[in-house]
Amino acid sequence: MAAKKIYETPMLDELESGPWPSFITGIKALRDNHENQFIADVTSSLLGQLEHSYETRKGYWKGGTVSVFGYGGGVIPRFSEVADAFPESKEFHTMRIQPTPGNYYTTDMLNQLGASWEKYGSGLQTFHGQTGNIMFIGTTTDGTQKFFDDINDYGWDMGGAGPCVRTAMSCVGAARCEMSNTNEHAAQRWLVNNFTDDVHRPALPYKFKFKISGCPNDCQNAIERADFAVIGTWRDDMRVDQAEFKKYVEAKGRQYIIDNVITRCPTQALALNDDDTIAVDNRNCVRCMHCINVMPKALRTGLDKGVTILIGGKRTLKIGDLMGTVVVPFRKLDTREDYEEMVELAEEIIDFWAENGLEHERCGEMIERIGLVNFLEGIDVEVDPNMVSSTRQSSYVRMDGWDDEAIKWFERKAEA
């Protein structure tokens, strides 16, 4: 069944050539071959509007208010500003649906989700948006509720949109990566599923994101993109298989090992011994991952695993990009109590920020405005030298509480 009306798309047609898969070819297939008349018509109209954007170099979608029953967010409403010319895609809302940690699916489940969307939406979907959500792109206001009711019954829930706790994201993780130091699945679900109310009913100063990476390679971009970044790490010695190391030296040559492993260590914690084994100064290793990345068969993470938590990462708007800052240098994440304590920390942080953040101010921006120390006092976390790259450079500060603070430091040291 073909669309009732076909729009000329000379510019988009140019995106059908070339070796990379073409989204235009895919949308045209829906327009020309899908048996559902709504899908054929809405995708035809979408192509018409997109061609108009390409010609005029402008976008023509505006937001609005659409939600499913019981929730305040999760639907991204899109109404066309050029619906007179392209009427079939007048309403073209996106559904944000939370994926599993690490984005795992069976093909059966993907087919089931696709079939539901085919029934109530445009037949276009994305795995995944930059928010981490599955994006089911393009349905009417009526379709949003029907689609949600359908997939919610078999285990899928809406993601966050607006000033709320957002959909969380994890790397591939312990399921298929030897670098992993934590159970990313458990960490993500403990955290974000504690805040389902805050995901579905936006009432915070702005967005709040959890992201989890199993090791400091941070494949999930947690430090620079998450308000609450959980990064797997370890605190004992890294594991060394000297026989495997020697094989690398033999295969690659000493020059290669010196240039690519030994001298690339940021803290000069590695040395090549005369017998072609490696010496590791574990007390000065900062767990950067480089040497392990180069020779994963010879070098491995340690066994006393846990996580580092960094708070306040975000992108540009409004004060510029911010990386997260270390707030928890190391904590174990093994037992139920460990997870509960991490969730309590997240609650403390979100509560403090909800109370003290300005409208549209991310947690990291609030920390920038009030200073890290005020933030730490607000969430009841003690200062730690792992939180800074260097100590203060300016003497312009009132320090008459010094003796009390020094006593606290020694008391904490004695307790540890």
């Binding site: 995106l15 070339g18 070796p19 990379w20 898969p21 989204f23 235009i24 895919g26 995708t43 979408l46 997109l50 954007s53 390409y54 170099r57 979608w61 029953f69 929730y71 073209f92 939370q98 599993t100 690490g102 984005n103 795992y104 699916y105 069976t106 093909t107 489940m109 696709g114 981490g132 509720q145 949600f148 009711d149 919610n152 019954d153 899928w156 829930d157 809406m158 591939v172 312990a174 298929r176 990566c177 030897e178 992993s180 159970n183 679900r189 995901v199 579905h200 430090i223 620079e224 993109r225 940021p266 950067c288 991952m289 994963p296 068969k297 992108r315 540009t316 708007l317 409004k318 990386m323």
Partner: protein
């Protein structure tokens, strides 16, 4: 439908991933020992138990129509025991326990027009925003940009030619949803918003718009007898932050919304701490359908990086080692006053030393 008849949601939140995970992965969860890279696009992971799993990584168009999705799932059924995942750059990964199925899978998926690669020291797929297809504030498209760039970089996706992995990102506005990348292609507006004064009081909460401006360039004003807003154009940095809360602040402009290219964003802690990207080129035309000028600059930077960087150096580390003067010399790109930062913390980016290469 009356409210009483509505179905209340089941607030199940983030679903359990273990139910969708390959049994070999479930069995060896947290027990993987090492991996090798048999060829581009293929990973082989070996567990303590001796079990192995092969990953075949495949680039997609990301905006998947249901026909394409079904093609991919049928490949998964035929060759990969029905288990897949997606990477954060929208590549699909098929999981194969039988090594003999790896090559037939690659052949089958390539026959359908998909591309295998994106592992190790290759250029993987661009991170992908929404753009004109679906965003309400975009200065450019996303899917078309990704398609155009990946057509140009196809050999770099399929092979291990780069000193280290390269992540490229795009962003369709200066909120920069695309994130940090070794190379980033982002919209850069160059003129203050044009204001539709007749609409401001109808659709905008004016104090919120005033508060949204990073440089306090917006203030309330009466225009033609109606409450509106005005912009101090000398202060305005053309970021577009006022546009999302107030669409009459029209920042997008067919001619003056340009593209800028940034390098050196890196989220990994490997070797150095994570870094933000730095400006290298701007005033690049926003030129659909194939953005040849932007693609040209990306290819130029990649060519210089490939020739000059050492093994394992990411783009930002390479520039750090050779210095910015050499970067501009090698690429032939102009260095301008706009490259010198004047935002908060800018002094940290100035050279307060005699470290100069001659």
């Amino acid at each position: 439908m009356a409210m009483a008849d509505m179905r209340p949601p089941i607030e199940s939140g983030c679903p359990d991933g273990f139910q969708y995970m390959h049994p070999t992965m479930r069995r060896n969860f947290g027990l993987w020992k090492y991996h090798t890279d048999p060829k581009p696009g293929v990973l082989r992971h070996v567990a303590e138990s001796g079990e192995e799993i092969f990953t075949v990584k495949v680039g997609t168009q990301r905006i998947l129509d249901i026909f394409s999705l079904r093609e991919l799932t049928s490949i998964g059924d035929e060759f990969a025991d029905g288990y897949i995942r997606f990477t954060i750059r929208s590549n699909i990964e098929f999981y194969v326990t039988d090594e003999a199925k790896v090559d037939p899978l690659i052949e089958a998926v390539e026959k359908l027009g998909y591309v295998v690669g994106g592992t190790k020291n290759s250029v993987t797929s661009l991170s992908h925003t929404q753009g004109w297809l679906h965003c309400d504030i975009p200065g450019t498209d996303a899917s078309g940009v990704v398609k155009s760039m990946m057509d140009e970089l196809i050999d770099e996706f399929k092979n291990w030619n780069m000193p280290n992995r390269v992540h490229i990102t795009t962003s369709c506005c200066q909120i920069n949803c695309g994130g940090q990348g070794d190379i980033a292609i982002n919209v850069q507006h160059t003129k203050p918003p044009k204001i539709d004064h007749a609409q401001v009081s109808n659709v905008c909460e004016r104090p919120s718009v005033v508060a949204r401006c990073p440089v306090a360039a917006i203030r309330p004003a009466m225009v033609d007898g109606k409450p509106s807003l005005e912009v101090d154009e000398k202060k305005c940095i053309c970021c577009g932050a006022c546009f999302p809360p107030c669409p009459p602040m029209m920042i997008n402009d067919a001619e003056h919304s340009k593209l800028a290219v940034w390098v050196g964003g890196n989220h990994s802690n490997a070797r150095g701490k994570p870094t933000f990207q730095k400006l290298v080129a701007s005033a690049i035309p926003n030129n659909p359908p194939r953005w040849p000028e932007a693609a040209g600059i990306v290819k130029l930077i990649l060519k210089c990086y490939k020739e000059d960087a050492r093994d394992w150096e990411r783009v930002g580390e390479w520039v750090e080692r050779i210095g910015w003067p050499r970067f501009f010399e090698l690429t032939g790109l102009p260095f301008t006053k706009y490259h010198i930062d004047n935002w908060r913390g800018a002094r940290a980016s100035l050279n307060a030393s005699t470290h100069i290469r001659f």
